[in-house]
């Protein structure tokens, strides 16, 4: 069965989007991403170390022809910085896709919603394909969709927390109303969390720490790939309704005395 993840006119086989942070080195980053099967990878924009510039570059390990590079605005605490970061990222020549995150507080890393809306408005107008990281708030999701964002990305739980989907009911409400892909971004801890998001009908899952922070990141990347695939298939297959009492699987007729 052909099932593509469509995002802003492009088609992807994988519904898992992975971050590239927190790995031991670029070689491990590359191996984990290969094991995850991801086709879209997030990156951050930072200063070059001018006193030691000869260090290897992430893009030496991640061929932009093979992967869709999704620059983020991590570390930005206001709309202006986020917009500036996106403009710099676009100049790098990897496309117009951006993961917009405007952080409101460094302890929770929850998004500053009004600032996210302000930045999204500017970025959409400038032709960016905007994927905003948001709290699991259906109203915010709707507003960002109305502004022209290509997807909405509610968090499952705080970034890096590994708590899994804290409020599945809100995600369900977002899913019911959204006409753009809903991607659960942040807070996933293990493969069943990823599967849960997909079973609910999310279009994709974005994660970094759950893979990079695992004892064996390569194996966890593979587990996440399978979790996302299993969850997606279960969603498409249509699960049975939950019932309080048993229903026998073996026929009741033909029982012998």
């Amino acid at each position: 069965m052909e099932d593509f993840f469509e995002l802003a006119g492009a088609k992807y086989r994988s519904r898992l989007i992975v971050g590239t942070g927190k790995y031991k080195d670029f070689a491990e980053t590359k191996r984990a991403i290969e094991a995850s099967g991801a086709e879209i990878v997030t990156v951050a924009v930072r200063r070059v170390n001018i006193t030691d510039p000869n260090k290897e570059n992430l893009l030496d390990y991640l061929d932009p022809k093979r992967y869709t590079i999704l620059p983020n605005t991590a570390g930005c605490y206001n709309a202006d910085d986020a917009v500036r970061t996106c403009r710099l990222a676009r100049e790098a020549g990897v496309g117009k896709l951006v993961k917009l995150e405007v952080i409101g507080d460094d302890r929770t890393l929850f998004p500053d919603v009004p600032a996210t809306l302000d930045a999204a408005k500017i970025l959409v107008k400038e032709g960016f394909i905007v994927l905003p990281y948001i709290t699991d708030d259906p109203i915010t999701a709707q507003k960002l969709e109305d502004l022209g964002c290509a997807a909405v990305m509610p968090l499952a739980a705080p970034i890096g927390s590994g708590l899994g989907i804290r409020n599945p009911y809100n995600i369900r409400i977002i899913l019911e109303h959204a006409k753009v892909p809903v991607i659960v971004d942040a807070g996933v801890g293990t493969a069943s969390d990823a599967a849960e998001a997909m079973e609910m009908g999310c279009a994709g899952v974005l994660m970094n720490t759950a893979i990079a922070g695992a004892k064996n990141p390569i194996l966890m990347a593979e587990a996440m790939r399978q979790g996302v695939e299993a969850g997606r298939k279960a969603y498409l297959a249509g699960r049975i309704p939950k019932k309080l009492y048993a229903t026998a699987s073996s026929p009741l007729e033909g029982l012998f005395a």
Binding site: K22, V43, V45, R47, V48, N57, L58, A92, N208
Partner: protein
Amino acid sequence: MRFLIFMRLKINGEERDVADGVSLTGLLESLQIRPGRVVVERNKEIVPRDSFGATLLADGDVLEIVHFVGGG
């Protein structure tokens, strides 16, 4: 008698003295930075990559030289 004139730039938050009249391409070369992997902002304005050679830096310029790093 010819004096070498230097200009002072602020590059990624650090003050650096470079030869007067150097282009952005020349500066990146002296810093051993591959131009194809970076984006440069000069006084808050992005410099298109194909203008690096034609961009002559001036005393007091503030440069941000950025690239992609691992992130989530």
